[in-house]
């Protein structure tokens, strides 16, 4: 029976494909509609927060930090309420991570402040003695890519119907020409963050109309609840 297959490479390949595709069909496809519903009150990320999220991804923070609080007392005591599916509805990609060399960050916005992040990203051991995290000084003088962040927001709005510009939701606009407005808004948001920061170069940059990576990253961190 099967030996017959080994002499017929084409049918053999079809057989292998059917067998390996079966698990995906059963396991993955059926639950798609259900799992992607956002929890009530969940808002999509602002353009500045997306820029920060892109910085988070660019420097692979997810290599050492998870964003998934499991339903155990030891985890909810340490990090806050356990994660539920609807909280991730706007996460493209998801950033659960697979390793906690550092602590979970899913609700880091609840208990860390802007100035804590500023000190920590500049020199981690200054706030956490014994920390083995690298310092990310380059984020203080390298600018975030706001255009790409805007492009991402616009893309998810257009392609996946993410509810931007709905009442009470962040604004993004409808086309390339809305970028200037979005940038203005992002700068306003950035100024609120730099008000709590002490690094003069960063403050100056924002006043010049630039957004250093660190500001975007902190905006994203503070949005994690």
């Amino acid at each position: 029976m099967f030996h017959w297959l080994e002499k017929r490479p084409f049918l053999f390949s079809v057989g292998v494909f059917l067998v390996i595709a079966f698990a995906g069909l059963i396991e993955i496809v059926p639950d798609f509609a259900q799992a992607s519903r956002p929890v009530t009150g969940k808002k999509p990320y602002t353009v500045l927060q997306i820029a920060g999220r892109q910085v988070y991804i660019k420097d692979s923070c997810n290599a050492c930090h998870s964003q998934l609080i499991r339903p155990f007392k030891s985890e909810t005591d340490r990090y806050g309420p356990y994660s539920v599916s609807g909280e991730y509805a706007y996460d493209r990609p998801f950033l659960w991570g697979s390793k906690r060399t550092g602590p979970d960050l899913h609700r880091v916005g609840e208990y860390r402040t802007t100035d804590w992040h500023e000190n920590h990203m500049w020199e981690p051991t200054s706030v956490v003695p014994g920390s083995i995290m690298p310092s990310y000084k380059h984020m203080f003088h390298q600018n975030a890519d706001l255009e790409t962040a805007f492009a991402e927001a616009l893309t998810v709005k257009k392609v996946f119907n993410v509810p931007y510009d709905k009442p009470g939701m962040p604004k993004v606009g409808n086309s390339k020409s809305d970028f200037e407005a979005a940038k203005k808004e992002a700068l306003e948001e950035a100024k609120k963050i730099t008000a709590d920061m002490k690094n003069q170069d960063v403050k100056d940059a924002v006043n010049r109309g630039e957004i250093p990576e660190i500001v975007a990253l902190i905006a994203y961190m503070n949005s994690l609840h």
Partner: protein, 487 residues
């Protein structure tokens, strides 16, 4: 068609072998470097933003998986496929041309991958970090391999496909399916006309994205680190030892068993996450079932050596391969244990997981590829392997490295997992997070040392290989079984 001068053509197999050696060294030097960073964090800032653990980690995983392992897979494929099908790739100019194109495009892709990830272009999905233009090129490279594969099969003189060929075909199909689905992404530049053209967003969001990613992530392990390596061992161990495979029937059963079961186990990466409960349970159960077909292949290999165990003492190549199948058994037992829900609650997110991965990748994947390339060297160059002693030394140094690696990671992982959940007499958490980091320093140091030993072994491998190419002990004809080696 058939004439006396017709010979197997090893050109493409040779090129991929060189790449395997180069990428093996690059990938594992980076890996060892970032392992030392965990023990000595000052190292993070030696190269500005390009030297941090976080920036380098995707480069380590990608170069080792898609540079080293796939080069090894392709090298052995272009060698084994010709031989078990009894057809020379030089018989068809088209197939040979496609194989060459496959090599060159693959090289471009690999170089682009390293540069773009160093610059910070990543999708963040593990083992699928490459951004969309690279994904497109990956598809092209993969299709070229497929054409070369089925081209050779179409020309074959041997009617029945040998066991190794089943596994190569499965590698081709499995990776194609997984890669396509997990890398579905929308380039933002094409939708909006602005921003970075390399950037894209995932087609899936949140929990769905996680589900697809770990269906991929786990099975990328299956179809890059397991399936092609089984293809390799099913050819090289019997050939080097001169013993036919212990049971062809068992290999049939474990092949179909592995194909069916492996794909279900992906959700064990998501235990206690927000994916539906039944999927987590299914992942857990199927991971246990997976022991059967995995051990089926491994036992088949060990029994192939039946009555010939003296070879284990005499030949370092047999040592590499037998220890590889033993490590395969170890990691396919360890994985299912970690998939049991209560064990996973402790082990997930800890260093036990990278420890487990490295049992498989160092002990099984790297050892098999090293053994295969050294088996091929005398056939490539019609020369004896330069030094048996060097191979022996390499074997023991690397084995020591692996033992240091996984034992330290076991202790580190379990220590950390226990400390995260430890409570004092009032039920409060006993340790702050940083306590669970600083305690790991000695284990991180041991792990990095283990990695360093393994890398030293790689340099010995490269040296031995290059010396073989230049050796003056020329062979008159291709050796049939055991590879001849100089003292």
């Amino acid at each position: 068609m058939q004439n006396a001068a017709l010979e197997y053509d090893y050109s493409v197999a040779k090129w991929f072998t060189y790449l395997a050696i180069i990428f093996g060294i690059v990938g594992m030097v980076v890996g060892t470097y970032i392992a030392f960073e965990l023990a000595f964090p000052e190292l993070n800032n030696l190269f500005g933003q390009y030297g941090t653990f976080s920036r380098l980690r995707p480069i380590h995983t990608n170069v080792v998986a898609f540079g080293f392992t796939l080069s090894g897979t392709f090298a052995t494929f272009y060698y084994v496929a010709q031989r078990v099908l009894k057809v020379s790739i030089a018989e068809s100019k088209t197939v040979h041309g496609i194989a060459k194109l496959h090599f060159w495009l693959y090289l471009v892709l690999a170089a682009w991958m390293v540069v773009s990830e160093l610059m910070g272009y990543t999708t963040s999905k593990e083992y699928a970090e490459m951004e969309w233009p690279l994904d497109v090129l990956t598809v092209v490279v993969w299709v070229l391999w497929g054409i070369a594969m089925f081209g050779l099969i179409g020309m074959r003189r041997e009617k029945t496909l040998y066991i190794s060929m089943w596994y190569y075909i499965a590698t081709f199909l499995g990776v194609a399916m997984l890669y396509l689905f997990n890398n579905m992404e929308v380039p933002t530049y094409f939708v909006t006309g602005m921003g970075d053209w390399m950037h894209s967003v995932s087609m899936y969001a949140g929990t769905n994205d996680a589900l697809v990613q770990w269906w991929y992530g786990h099975n990328a392990v299956a179809f890059v680190f397991t399936v092609p390596i089984i293809a390799i061992i099913y050819y090289y161990l019997p050939k080097e030892s001169g013993q036919p495979v212990f049971s062809y029937k068992l290999s049939l059963l474990s092949f179909w068993g592995l194909m069916f079961v492996y794909l279900w186990a992906g959700s064990h990466h998501l235990i206690y996450s927000t994916v539906p409960d039944w999927m987590q349970t299914m992942g857990s159960i199927f991971s246990i079932v997976l022991i059967l077909p995995s051990w089926g292949s491994a036992i088949n290999m060990l029994l192939t050596m039946k009555g010939e165990w003296n070879q284990l003492k005499e030949s370092p190549l047999i040592k590499f391969m037998v220890l590889a199948s033993t490590f395969y058994m170890l990691s396919t037992l360890e994985g299912p244990i970690q998939s049991i829900k209560s064990v996973n609650a402790l082990a997930h997110f800890t260093d036990w997981i990278p420890g487990h991965v490295h049992d498989g990748t160092l002990g099984w994947v790297a050892f098999m590829i090293i053994a295969a390339t050294l088996h091929m060297a005398p056939r490539f160059y019609k020369r004896e392997i330069y030094s048996k002693k060097l191979m022996e030394m390499q074997f023991w140094i690397q084995t020591t490295g692996i033992v240091l690696y996984f034992s330290s990671m076991w202790i580190a992982g379990i220590t950390q997992g226990m400390m995260w959940r430890a409570v004092d007499q009032y039920g409060n958490l006993a340790y702050s997070f940083i306590d669970t980091v600083t305690v790991l320093h000695p284990y991180y140091t041991i792990r990095a040392t283990g990695g360093l030993l393994f890398v030293i072994g790689l340099f010995m491998w490269a040296y031995n290989f290059v010396k073989t190419m230049q050796s003056d002990r020329v062979l008159e004809k291709e050796p049939a079984f055991a590879s001849p080696m100089g003292a």
